[in-house]
């Protein structure tokens, strides 16, 4: 049974206002609490370790929600999810984790997702992280995603962490086969003493493969961020890495994009920029009647939209 607090967190991380449409699995405080399979989309608990297997049949279309909730202090949740998107299928997969830490112990979720997007399939994957709670205990999230995008398949990963998470280490590994396409869109905001690290490795294995990594972040307070996106081409593939950060207050940001070609036909580009909010942007919005605080908020929310 989900409480009002659970529902509030589900709304934050998965935009859910009731029962999820399609197949789903809701995990709360290290236990699966609700689950539903649909014809052609099977959601089953693992037998050997915590987590679920999601198997989407060929050419199936649909939505799968797999949110995780942590509402107890002192919880350390580790979960392994395997996701198989069958050939030609078209799936929206909404993951994400919300932590409400009411006490002084650390609440931590480490999620390992292994995803196969089979030939010609399409996957749109969103993962939102959110933290709250009146306790002094830390809220920690360490997601690890391993994805294989097969021939002619397309995957889009939207990875969002806007507020409330104290520490995070995000690891993303992707392998893209011939004519496969991958878009990773990462958005991150840290404040106070929070730390965030994102390591992304994308390997272009097949001719015609393509990847784009777009990372936008804002670091406020005395928070600390490290980005390390790496794009490796073993084939005639195309890739673009773009890391943009707004730095404020006494925050620190390290952005270390790397492109690595092992094939003379590969085309790889990287861009990285860190800077404060431009004064001209603030002045423009204030000329339209916004206060300094409203202008700053508009620029940040637009940047992270």
């Amino acid at each position: 049974m989900l409480t009002a607090l659970d529902k509030k967190i589900l709304q934050e991380i998965a935009d859910l206002h009731g029962d999820p449409p399609g197949a789903f699995n809701i995990r709360k405080n290290s236990q699966g609490v609700e689950r539903r399979s649909m014809p052609g989309v099977e959601v089953a608990p693992k037998k050997d370790k915590p987590g679920i297997d999601i198997i989407v049949e060929k050419n199936k279309e649909g939505t799968v929600h797999i949110p995780v909730l942590l509402t107890d202090t002192g919880q350390s949740d580790l979960v392994y999810n395997n996701i198989e998107i069958g050939e030609g299928a078209n799936i929206l997969l909404v993951a994400g984790c919300g932590i409400h830490n009411p006490g002084s112990g650390t609440a931590q979720h480490d999620g390992v997702h292994e995803i196969f997007v089979r030939r010609g399939a399409r996957l749109r994957y969103t993962e939102k992280h959110y933290g709250e709670g009146e306790g002094t205990g830390k809220r920690v999230l360490n997601p690890q995603t391993v994805i294989v995008v097969e021939e002619g398949a397309y995957a889009e990963l939207e990875l969002v962490q806007i507020r409330g998470v104290d520490d995070t280490v995000r690891t993303t590994e992707a392998t893209i086969k011939g004519d496969g396409h991958l878009l990773i869109y990462e958005r991150l905001l840290t404040d106070t003493q929070q730390t965030a690290r994102s390591d992304v490795v994308v390997t272009l294995e097949g001719d015609g493969s393509a990847a784009r990594i777009v990372s936008r972040s804002v670091a406020k307070g005395s928070s600390n961020q490290v980005f390390r996106p790496r794009l490796i081409a073993y084939s005639k593939g195309r890739g673009h890495v773009e890391c943009d950060s707004i730095i404020m207050d006494s925050a620190t940001i390290r952005s270390i994009p790397e492109i690595w070609a092992e094939n003379s036909e590969a085309e790889l580009v990287h861009e990285a920029a860190i800077g404060k909010i431009a004064g001209e942007q603030m002045i423009k919005l204030m000329c339209l009647g916004l206060t300094e605080e409203e202008a700053e908020e508009s620029i940040i929310s637009g940047f992270l939209k």
Binding site: R216, D244, A278, E280, Q281, I283, K284, L285, M286, C287, L288, G289, L290, T291, E292, S298, I299, G302, F303, L304, K305
Partner: protein, 248 residues
Amino acid sequence: MLILENMNLVLEEERKRIQILDNIDLQFEWGKMYALTGPNGSGKSSVARVIMGIMKPTKGRVILDGEDITSLGITERAEKGIGYAFQHPARFKGLRVVDLLEIAMKLSEKAECQCLRQIGLCPDQYLERELDNSLSGGEIKRIEIATLLAQDPKVRLFDEPEAGIDLWSFEQLVDILGSSHTSDSITIIISHQEKILEMVDEIIVMEGGKITMKGSREDIWPQIQESARCICRQTCSKEGEIYADCPR
């Protein structure tokens, strides 16, 4: 009425004092259009920035309908009905054209689509576009003007609105600057363009931070043309600005 009284602006750069505005006295009446012209670096944009509150004068007062607004910040002046279309508009990653127009319309009742159409931009093509480097200089400039039209301020400051705008759109720009001006507004256009200087009620010429000429268009325009010819004959280096009749 908007009054600039004994306005002085001095900046210090590398221990040097630079007089940007030197005892400027100007009065702008409701219902009139004004052109502010003169060579580059003469202080035209600084006048506009002082009116908007972006630059604080070293000495002097800004008075709007009898109220001294010199100490007010940018936001308060926007709320008083002053708006500024920048010569070089800011770009924003992530913020869309529709977002900027919606912010502008908080102080007005204009429609965002109408403002874009007025300046020759199709709303279907532009509303969702990001205000980043994917827009050309001309596009971002037209969006800047559309934003001021959306804001619909009483005091309208256009800083070189024609800069970066193609010839086809220029005619449209001149039309909209004229047609959107009302008897309740003051329009001040910083420009070197003959067509814009021809449409205003009064022309103010600046040089070296000072007002060198001011008066009705009928009185000032012939003097500008004459002085332009003189300067042009001497230096022949100013074509393309107000010196459109350069023999070269």
